[in-house]
């Protein structure tokens, strides 16, 4: 075993694990499997967590609609108050100053 260096072994171990963990990068002709996160082994492991958290979020949507009778943003009474007391209307001068921004390239 003296002729296997530590570096080479780690590289081998790493490579094997990548294949086991994420699958070969491309399978078949043209079909890019690894590009869909949800079809990779890592993505499949995440999918259940994503699904349950997603269900929780839509459950909250239902609670808001059923119990508080608010589905769409303009139905929020505090939103109405915010605009009537302070910002006047969407895209107003106050809105532009506090709620909007501009972007700059970073190259």
């Amino acid at each position: 075993m003296g002729n296997i260096t530590r570096r080479a072994f780690i590289k081998f171990a790493g490579l094997t694990s990548v294949i086991l963990l994420t699958g070969f990068p491309r399978l078949g002709s043209g079909e890019i499997i690894s590009n869909n996160f949800f079809d990779t082994p890592v993505g499949r492991q995440r999918l259940n967590i994503i699904k349950t958290r997603q269900a929780g979020q839509y459950k909250d949507d239902l609670i808001l609609r059923e119990k508080f009778k608010m589905a769409a943003s303009h139905e929020n009474p505090m939103i109405k108050r915010f605009y009537s007391e302070f910002a006047h209307h969407p895209l107003s001068e106050v809105s532009e100053a506090l709620l909007h921004t501009h972007y700059k390239a970073r190259v």
């Binding site: 780690i10 949800f38 501009h102």
Partner: protein, 461 residues
Amino acid sequence: MVRKVKTFKGDGGVSADTGTYRKGELRGIIKIDQETCVGCDTCRTVCPAGAVKGSVGEKHSIDVDRCINCGQCLLNCPFGAIEQMSFVDYVIEKLKDKKTKVVAIVAPAVRVAIAEEFGAEPGTLTVGRLWAALKKAGFDIYENNFAADQTILEEGTELLARVAAHSGLKELPVELWGKKVVLEVEEFKHKPLPQFTSCCPAWVRYAEVYYPKVLPNLSSCKSPQQMAGATAKTYGAKEIWKVKPENIYTVGVMPCTAKIFEASRPEFDSAGKFLKKSGMRDVDAVLTTRDLAEVLKKLNIDPMKLSEERQPKDFMQYTGGATIFGVSGGVMEAALRFAFHVLSGLEPSAMSPQWDFEDVRGYRHPVVSATIPVPLRPEYEKVFKTKQIDIKVCVVNGIGPEGAHLKPVIEDVVAGKSPYHFIEVMTCPGGCINGGGQPVHPIELGLWEKFLYAFAGSIKK
């Protein structure tokens, strides 16, 4: 069981423009621990920005100039080798200071995940309990969901203004709460369609670094976190809480590591500019979901032992449209609910299926597109000279490794042949619920992998 993520204290923003960072911004929010990394390459395969350096078997590191801070690497590292900059200690210090009003800005995706840090099943909805825990800890609450509603009003109206301007109109009448405002939309002719969402700070940075050509397509709206900070210190301080804005310390509680970067952007001091006070940040600190759990644990508070009852008032009020911001397709659906109301003039009851735009929900496809027919109210029929408008939308559910999912969509936009009006981009697959700041469930290794890494570990020693 969730895994603890190692954290480190930030040492402040950069002192001058450095690479892709501007003066004052936090650099290196995500860091790979060189001791723990075994070079398995998982982080590189999930990085949307191609920012991970090093090939298989080598120790990996992050090219901070390319990094968009999304934290997908951290979330998916099987070895827990990736660390996050954290502000836990700063926030605890502020909570102790009785003169300071510490305001928590709580994001929607936090409420379906934080319970996991206290032993509950993933997806456990924690709203009342979370509010009670925050209050016990000494926070005031500004629901980021309320800010999401603000975002929809601004971003939805901006979309309508762009559509109207590109249909050749100079003015657009908008009726809200029985009152009519006539918006001048001519200037929106210079803002191209499609409009991109701008809620996801990792996506905004991605566009700034990799596709500056599409920046005019981004909605000019700040993200909900930043809208919340700016509103809390102006309207909130004066009209709701009646305190001095200087005494408010705003803390974003986010499922996201890119929000830490976002809050440090130099332009986000608009409350200070508005009030003509210098040196004031809109958002003073950001905690991830994990960080908040840490704060609560340090203060001996277990939200799961508190009551789930909710009695929202002031900035704690929010709608269903706001809470779905946490999932892929949520911002789009909320915007469609609002646009549908304004354009059609209809007011369906809260439970009506007319509010469900299921075609845009992300689920497991990387890119989702849909055409939403919206009937027009008589006034708009005349304006747009049609009875029904077809809104074409697209949802990018995760930018994808090295931008794989986003690139085709964005290249169509750059080439001027994109068919859409509105495009939502979420950097993380699934949306914010799967963000880099969420509780980490370790990636399970198979027996064979465990053996290999154990062996590699023993050789290293």
